[in-house]
């Protein structure tokens, strides 16, 4: 609705009434946020996360961000927490699936990915967990082992494993599968998959435009 009696002081065009102006600014704010997050529309939440898992993950994320090194020449950076979905598991192994948005088209680059794992051990005991990174290769129906990491655990609590470039590539493609194989007598499935507040998660650091940016000297 245009107000006939006044003009926009800056551009000389007709101005809007206050309510229309408010709506326009809200629309602008929405579009601006979605554009800068490279989203076409606001996300619809399909799998809600428990508040306890959210709180725990955020506490960990805050600690991690304090440890992170500052970089010059950075683009827009994201930190993504992806909670595990437990897949085909048995007493000897646990499979964790993580879903990431496929952002290859937006020129996004996973710079670092680490698995956060809570382990509950009896006092004075140790455990080794073999973390296998699996990937579904093109034209193959079976998961292929592409990397593995050993985690030595000597106390209960959260443990962090930095995943290598293979896992980062898997995250970039939208899906990461990890298989945890506890070694030794002490480790059980319940030691790793404790309660809902101790759900394993992957923290990924992502940068926009990493592939296509050009540095000028």
């Amino acid at each position: 609705t245009l107000r006939a009696d006044s003009q926009c002081p800056a551009c000389g065009g007709p101005t809007l009434d206050l309510e229309s102006q408010r709506e326009l600014l809200h629309d602008f704010a929405k579009r601006s946020i979605l554009d800068k997050l490279h989203l076409r529309q606001r996300p619809t939440l399909g799998r809600p996360v428990s508040r306890s898992a959210l709180r725990t993950a955020l506490q960990r994320l805050r600690e991690l961000s304090q440890e992170a090194l500052l970089e010059d020449d950075i683009g827009q950076e994201y930190e993504i927490i992806s909670f595990a979905e437990t897949g085909l598991s048995n007493i000897n192994q646990i499979r964790l699936d993580f879903h990431f948005p496929d952002r290859n088209s937006g020129g996004m680059e996973i710079q670092q990915a680490s698995l956060m794992l809570f382990m509950q051990l009896p006092p004075n005991s140790t455990c080794t967990v073999n973390v296998k990174v699996l990937m579904l290769r093109p034209h193959d129906t079976n998961l292929t082992l592409i990397a593995q990491h050993l985690l030595e655990v000597d106390a209960s609590g959260w443990h962090q494993i930095f995943l290598g470039p293979e896992a980062q590539a898997a995250c970039s493609q939208g899906h990461l599968t990890l298989q945890l194989v506890p070694e030794g007598q002490r480790a059980h499935r319940s030691d790793i998959l404790g309660g809902t507040s101790h759900r394993p998660f992957v923290v990924a650091r992502v940068r926009v435009g990493g592939k296509h940016r050009v540095r000028r000297r």
Partner: protein, 116 residues
């Protein structure tokens, strides 16, 4: 920069807070609860363009001087009231996979306005 007050008609920063609850986005944006978007409004007479402290940079000032010379004799000139300082907005939100994403979106909050 100058904040808009009362009947001021000169280029200034108008405060405007976007409440995520009001636009129905509080379910997927975890933090913050809203943000001070703000915007610029007001007149930019020719003599204001390129003034120290109002122009965005020395280069802008030189450019405006050239533009002012070119526009001499016209009533309106070409100067606009635009943001000169912006700062990022830190956002924590759920994506469509229910992952939690933390990012700083650049240039979201208008801190100061000036004549271009």
């Amino acid at each position: 920069g100058i904040d808009c007050q009362g009947g001021s008609r000169m280029c200034c920063r108008q405060e405007f807070f976007v409440d995520f609850r009001e636009i129905g986005w509080q379910d997927w944006i975890i933090q913050p609860e809203g943000y001070a978007m703000n915007f610029c409004t007001g007149q930019c007479p020719l003599h204001v363009a390129g003034m120290p402290g109002i122009a965005a940079s020395f280069h802008t000032a030189v450019f405006n001087l050239l533009k002012a010379n070119a526009a001499a004799g016209t009533a309106r000139g070409g100067s606009c009231c635009v943001p000169t300082i912006r700062r990022p907005l830190s956002l924590l939100y759920y994506d469509k996979d229910s992952n939690i994403v933390k990012t700083d979106i650049p240039d979201m909050v208008v801190e100061a306005c000036g004549c271009s």
